[in-house]
Amino acid sequence: MKWRYFKQNLFFVTVRLSAFIIALSIGAFLVYIFMNGIGAVNWDFLTLPPRDSMTKGGIMPAILGTFYLTAGAIIIALPLGVVSAIYLSEYAKQGPVIRLIRIGINCLAGVPSVVFGLFGLGLFVVFLQFGSCILSGALTLGFLILPTIIGASEEALKGVPQTFREASLGLGVSKWQTILRIVLPNALPGILTGSILGIGRAAGETAPIMFTAAAFFTAKLPTSIFDEVMALPYHVYVLATAGTHIEETRPIQYGTILVLVALVSGIDLIAIIMRSYIRKKKRW
């Protein structure tokens, strides 16, 4: 009897500890970034371009660049991903072809991001002659986050009760209208979750944009989607590895990371608020 209690308690302690370790490491990571980065962040840092071989000044072009690239990636991947998910979950008849497509999507999710970068370089930059620019980078990042968005959207679509579809179809409403008016609106919270994950990934990646969009340094702000841009993760990479003043720019590196984390968290927060608002309206 006592031995059984002991085993039970041991189990509880273990699971609780695991959860605490995860929370603790995220907390420690955030505190560390904040403590090291906050000193560099001020109004000028956020609003001015870098100067003096990037050892001084701000990171405004990189903030803007990351914003454009992330937004572009979502604009490309969200419609494509949601439409693919609709096909897979609502229309496709299960069979070898569909299984192959699913395997393909899963493989895509496991491809290292630098491979996406090379693929983008080959297809968009060189073959389609877009050059290194926002468009090429956004397309590459879009493909990178596509599996995440398809996966989350498909789960969300499958989560809509079958009885809703039956009710709508039973009223003599076509399948397409049923998907548009009933299934999709009720799957929206889950689709948003997928987008949140996608945004975080797209904003933080360095390798896919290294060859396709990111500039080492440009003080000029982009005026079209065919302009090269600076980006936050690439800026950190450049300062930390390729510059001649690596130690000197340490505070700028931490500051840039802090801004990147804040930017992604901010976008996430907006999506989470939107999701809980929609969920509250659609209770079943």
Binding site: A167, G170, G172, Q177, R283, W284
Partner: protein, 253 residues
């Protein structure tokens, strides 16, 4: 062909993949009458019901042989649009399934997509449908609230009103009261009595007392076959087939 038949099923076999769910079923449904389909679980009565507005199409790997004639047309003819059929033959399901929308929008959802755009026309339709489902007095002041907030019985009547708003000829009901309490069940049964003046009702029920109370005709199914089909009073008092008698007296099932 007798003119008082609205649907005629002729020699229908139905398969889910390799397994046969209905064998050689032939039966007619009379206009403006309530027909009940009874039988033990898995006997094919729900399958038959869903065959009548092609809801079985939604399941992969199903196959139909024979004819289901509605208004001189076989609804399984390749030229027939199932969407069109479902507008004329409405359905109420076992579990109340209102949409997570307001009461008003639940009722107008079908008609709107069917082409009714005029606001006052839609409002009139909502009032008329809810009155037909004897729900108007309970909900007329809360039409903009979510239908999900209503009780189970009220939700089922919303679903009936929603089906009626499409102005169907036939109403199929798949065990509409099995998820409801006795009071709500009694209300739905009263409602069916009222609705048969305008509509043809075909109802699947597990509850033999219910079939005896509300229906004019009853079909007894067993193992995918129609065992006996007779006026309800006859089927429950002097059935032709021994199996029917055994089932209604509770000796098996």
């Amino acid at each position: 062909m007798l003119s008082d038949n609205i649907i005629e099923i002729k020699k229908v076999n139905f398969y889910y993949g390799a397994s046969k769910a209905l064998t050689d079923v032939t039966m007619d449904f009379k206009k403006n009458k309530v027909t009940a389909l009874i039988g033990p679980s898995g006997c094919g009565k729900s399958t038959l019901l869903r065959l009548l507005n092609r809801m079985n199409d939604l399941i992969d790997g199903t196959r139909v042989e024979g004819e289901v004639v509605f208004e001189d047309r076989n609804i399984y003819d390749p030229n027939v649009d199932p969407v069109e059929i479902r507008r004329r033959i409405g359905m109420v399901f076992q579990k109340p399934n209102p949409f997570p929308k307001s009461i008003f929008n639940n009722i107008t959802y079908g008609p709107k997509l069917g082409g009714v755009k005029n606001r006052s026309e839609l409002e009139a339709l909502v009032e008329q449908s809810l009155k037909q489902a004897s729900l108007w007095n309970e909900v007329k002041d809360i039409l903009n609230q979510s239908a999900m907030m209503l009780s189970g019985g009220q939700q089922q009547r919303i679903c009936i009103a929603r089906a009626l708003a499409m102005k169907p000829d036939v109403l199929l009901m798949d065990e509409p009261t099995s998820a409801l309490d006795p009071v709500s069940t009694a209300k739905i049964e009263e409602l069916i009595e009222e609705l048969k003046k305008k509509y043809t009702i075909i109802i699947v029920t597990h509850n033999m007392q219910q079939a005896a109370r509300i229906s004019d005709y009853t079909g007894f199914f067993y193992l995918g076959k129609l065992i006996e089909y007779n006026p309800t009073e006859k089927l429950f008092t002097t059935p032709d087939v021994k199996q029917t008698e055994e089932y209604i007296t509770g000796r098996f099932g």
